[in-house]
Structures are given as C-alpha cells and as structure tokens.
C-alpha cells in the first residue's frame, strides 16, 4: 500500500479537540460526535480534527503520549530492549505527522517532540533492518513481528516479502533438481540397458 493510504487509515483514530463554537451532535456514518460546546474538550476522528483546525474552529488537545517525559521513556525503553516495544498505538506516526503539521502551536515543545519521535522511529527502523537480515539468514520463510505498526510494516514492503518469495523459489528449484537427481539414479540402478 502507498504511505498515503496508511495515513488515510490512521486518520480514523479518535483524538481530542476543544472547539471554539457550539453545535448539536453530528451523526456521521462512522459514528456520532458531539455535542460541540465552545471551550469543552470532546472526541472526533483525526481527519475531522485536522479539518476543523484548518478552519480555525478548534484547538487540539495533545494526546497523552505526545509528551516529552513519556517519549523520553519510550525512547530509552526502545534503546534498551532487543525487541520492538509497544508503541502508544498503531498509528502513532500518522497522528504525530498530522497533528504536528497542522497544530504545532497546540502541542507543548512541538519541535522537540517531533525530533524525539523521529529518533524513536529511527531506532526502530535500524532494529527492523537487523531483524530482516537475521530472518533471511535463518532461511526466511516465517517471522513474528509483534508491536510493529502498520506504517513500519509498510516501510519494508516490497523488499522483505519479495526477498522471501525469491528464497522460496530457490528452495523449490533445489528441491526439484534434488528429486530429479534421485529419479535419475533410481533409473540407473534399475539397470536397464536402454540407450537414450
């Protein structure tokens, strides 16, 4: 899938906003939202939050995890662990990108937040490259990838699955030629005197 499609899926994530207007509940197909009360926090899908923000109709409430202290801990944990640690949620990268893009002024220490999220992403990407290497060297037909988010998984497509497909093809050929050798030798052993 294209990165913009992953972003599209991530935009369904529910975030919190503080509207500057009042309005009754809105009944969308994806659910009911509201009522909107000026100055009171409420939940809406990320796409709607960004849209309202662009129209200057709301302020974004920074998600709990988009906080330097929380992120420092995540970063340390990620550095320490051999495995992938559990991220705040499946679409942390999309949420960060969109909120920091459209509403940086609503997020305390936005530029530091941006940098540290990028650091966490980089640590995870380098881990991912190491595990891909290990996976291929171990024969590359199956791997478990807990706690990787959709955007991260998408970043190793098509390289990883295709490399595994190729390895599979090579194994198939090895097997075919091995069984061909086997058949030939059986044929010779049977000791027939036919000339071919």
């Amino acid at each position: 899938m294209d990165p913009f499609e992953i972003e599209f899926i991530g935009e369904n994530r529910i975030v919190s906003i503080i509207p500057n207007f009042s309005h009754d509940k809105i009944y969308l197909i994806c659910g009911e939202f509201g009522p909107f009360r000026a100055g009171l926090p409420m939940n809406v899908p990320l796409w709607l939050a960004v849209m309202l923000k662009q129209k200057q109709k709301c302020r974004i409430v920074p998600p709990d995890w988009m906080d330097m202290e929380v992120l420092e801990n995540i970063k340390e944990e990620e550095k320490r662990s051999r495995f992938f640690t559990k991220m705040p949620h499946e679409h942390y990268m999309v949420e960060a990108k969109l909120l920091l893009g459209a509403a940086a002024e609503d997020i305390p220490r936005a530029s530091e937040v941006k940098t540290i999220i990028k650091d966490i992403w980089d640590i995870r990407m380098s881990k991912l490259r190491t595990s891909m290497d290990a996976l291929m060297k171990s024969g590359g037909s199956y791997g478990r990838l807990d706690h990787l988010t959709m955007m991260e998984i998408n970043s190793v497509k098509p390289l990883l699955p295709q490399a595994m497909d190729e390895l599979h093809k090579i194994k198939m050929m090895t097997r075919t030629s091995a069984s061909a050798t086997l058949n030939n030798s059986t044929f010779t052993q049977s000791g027939s005197s036919q000339n071919i």
Binding site: F4, E5, F8, Q54
Partner: protein, 195 residues
C-alpha cells in the same frame, strides 16, 4: 536468423515501459511473413522426413521458432493492451487524437469494447438500490481537503462548476477549486495541483 525480428519488436516495446509507442504494423507483417516461410519449409521437409531422418531435427527447430514467434507476438499485443487500459482510466472513453494515432485499428476497437464493458460495469454498481452507478475513475486518491489550489497549464477555456459558477481557465492562472471537480482536468494535464 529465425526469431530475430520478434525480439527487436519486444525490445522496442520494453524501451518505453511507461508510455505506448506507435503500433509497429510493418514489423508484425514481416514476422508473420517469416512464420509462413518457416511453415512452408517445414511442410515440404515433413513429407521428406519419412525417408530422410536427419531432416527431423531441422523441422523441430523451425517448429520451435514458429511457436516462439507466436508467443512473442501475443506478448507484444498483451503488453500493449495493458497500456491501452490505463489510457481509458486516464483519458476516459474519448482518446486525444495524438494518442489515438498510436493504436492500430484493431487496438482501437479493443479500446472501445474495453471502455464499453467498463462503463456498463460501473453503471451496474448499486442498481439494485436505485443508485445511478459510480465512476471508478474518480476518487483515485484519499481525500485530504475539499478544496485545493491549482495552476492552469494550458488555455482551456470556461469551466462550469457544480454550483453554477463559471470560471475561466487560462494558462498560468491560479484557482481554488473543489477537489472533486478538478480531478479529471488534473489527470488530463490541464491543471496542476500546487502543493
């Protein structure tokens, strides 16, 4: 050498893998000609193989060359069919004359049939619930905002918007338009999104 022309044909198609070239009528005629010559030689020799076994290998080689030519010709056409399909999604059911010229008559006929088949499929969507069908060539990218800023690349003329407003699309003019309504013009290269 047998099969040489057909490889030239495939290489030629390979060179511009994203765009479609002029249909190479002449080369295809030559390849089919080659096939008839090989076939004739094989017919003559096949009758003689009963007496002369050594001819059998020659017949086999020519037969392989014939099969190969057929396969490659079909591959050439198949590859072009895939490109012609994308033309339908990009330009709609009416091709600009300079693109139309690149297709053979039979290819153009195929394009029309493909277009009709696609149109009747799209019309059938939701017909059970009284829906008037969906144009699948729209909504190609996830929506980001309802309006986008665009730059007009050519002198296009008047464009009437759904709300009744008429705007003039002149070369190098900038507009703020509903995303939905300018997708087709963006695909046709009349407008360019300013990001």
């Amino acid at each position: 050498m047998f099969g040489e022309k057909v490889i030239e044909l495939l290489k030629e198609a390979e060179r511009n893998s994203d765009t479609i070239d002029l249909y190479n009528d002449e080369k295809i005629r030559q390849i089919i000609q080659e096939m008839h010559i090989l076939f004739k030689m094989n017919m003559d020799d096949a009758n003689a193989t009963t007496e002369n076994k050594s001819l059998w290998t020659t017949v086999q080689v020519r037969h392989s060359a014939l099969e190969r030519n057929k396969r490659c010709l079909l591959a050439y056409l198949y590859n072009r069919m895939n490109k012609i399909k994308t033309l339908r999604w990009e330009f709609g059911s009416v091709l600009p004359p300079d693109v139309r010229e690149l297709l053979s008559d039979s290819e153009y006929e195929w394009f029309s049939k493909y277009s009709t088949n696609l149109a009747s499929y799209m019309r059938s969507l939701g017909e059970d619930i009284g829906y008037s069908g969906i144009d699948l060539t729209e909504n190609l990218r996830p929506p980001k905002s309802l309006y986008i800023e665009v730059l007009c690349v050519t002198d296009y003329g008047k464009l009437e918007l759904e709300d009744g407003d008429v705007i003039m699309l002149k070369k190098n003019s900038r507009h703020y338009l509903p995303t939905e309504e300018c997708q087709t013009l963006i695909r046709q290269g009349v407008l360019k999104q300013i990001i």
